[in-house]
Amino acid sequence: MSKFKKNGSKGMPAISTASLPDIVFMLLFFFMVTTVMRETTLFVSVVTPKATEIKKMEKKSLVSYVYIGSPVKRMQNSYGTAARIQLNDAFADVNEIQEFIATEREAKDEKEIPYMTTSIKADETVKMGIITDVKQELRKANALKINYSTRKGIY
């Protein structure tokens, strides 16, 4: 009898939690490295269209973004609901695109310029007119690599 009692009193040894901070730190560093903070506040609401034949964008540092969509709710009082273009942190006109591309290029190394891509993030409800205008301006600026930003999915 006493034999069994002895065994029972030992019980389960407590799991050491000493390595818990290490695990947490590991996770922390992972998220610190992968995190990308949104650097621009969007003034236009953009829901990109869905597509299946999509490719991942490489080299995020070489991508300049052009947002197209109707202004968000709180901006609609002053800007209306018609689709507008946003470059960096402000609404822009179509003819400002060339200037925008020029400033984007200045910041980059000369060797990297041919690899620069312009990502068009347009809302699925906008008309092609504004997109065509943007594309024409990009052609004039000689920024020929473009990417229509889309989500993965079927219609």
Binding site: T34, V36, P49, A51, K140
Partner: protein
């Protein structure tokens, strides 16, 4: 002896985990893992002023004309077409290899000409682009399977190049103009 034992008190590291958790949660919340995806296209360079337009050498049978009007309807080679049939139509055109008189001579010469109206919805335009890209991707895949017994994406660089040369993705977009449509 007594003074030695006093020394510097050790800092309690027990709260380290809490601090790390706090930071971890902050980064967890702020992180955006979404990778940007999209359809990549190359725009044609601006035509030069004095350069005359010459697309006369291209045989009309090698051009597959896709028009989208402001009502988002498709006119493909002069006929109304539903968007769901576009992929099959494009595949038939590209992979014709000179069999039918009105379709392309071979995939290398095949050009898809895309024209849209200013009133076309962006959604429709992307869908058309997607269907065309999908037609090319499927053809490349079929060819890769037949030739190398592997899918296109699994091939190595030189093999991919070979297939790409056989099926170059030529989607030309006309200079913008108004096609119109009943509104």
């Amino acid at each position: 002896m007594a003074s030695k034992r006093r020394g510097l008190p050790e800092i309690n590291a027990g709260s380290m985990a809490d601090i790390a958790f706090l930071l971890l949660i902050f980064f967890l919340v702020t992180t955006t893992m979404d990778v940007d995806t999209g359809i990549s296209r190359k725009l044609p360079p601006m035509p030069e002023e004095d350069q005359p337009e010459d697309d006369s050498q291209i045989n009309a049978r090698n051009i597959y004309v896709v028009l989208i009007n402001s009502n988002n309807q498709l006119l493909v080679e002069g006929e109304l077409m539903d968007i769901s049939q576009l992929k099959e139509g494009a595949k038939r055109f590209i992979n014709n290899n000179g069999i039918r008189e009105d379709l392309s001579e071979n995939p290398e010469k095949a050009i898809i000409s895309l024209q849209n109206d200013r009133g076309t919805a962006y959604k429709t335009y992307i869908r058309v682009q997607n269907e065309l890209a999908s037609a090319y991707n499927e053809l490349r895949n079929e060819n890769a399977l037949r030739k190398f017994g592997e899918r296109f994406i699994d091939l190595n660089k030189t093999q991919q190049k070979e297939i790409k040369k056989l099926f170059p993705q030529k989607i030309s977009e006309a200079e913008p103009k108004n096609i119109g449509g009943d509104s």
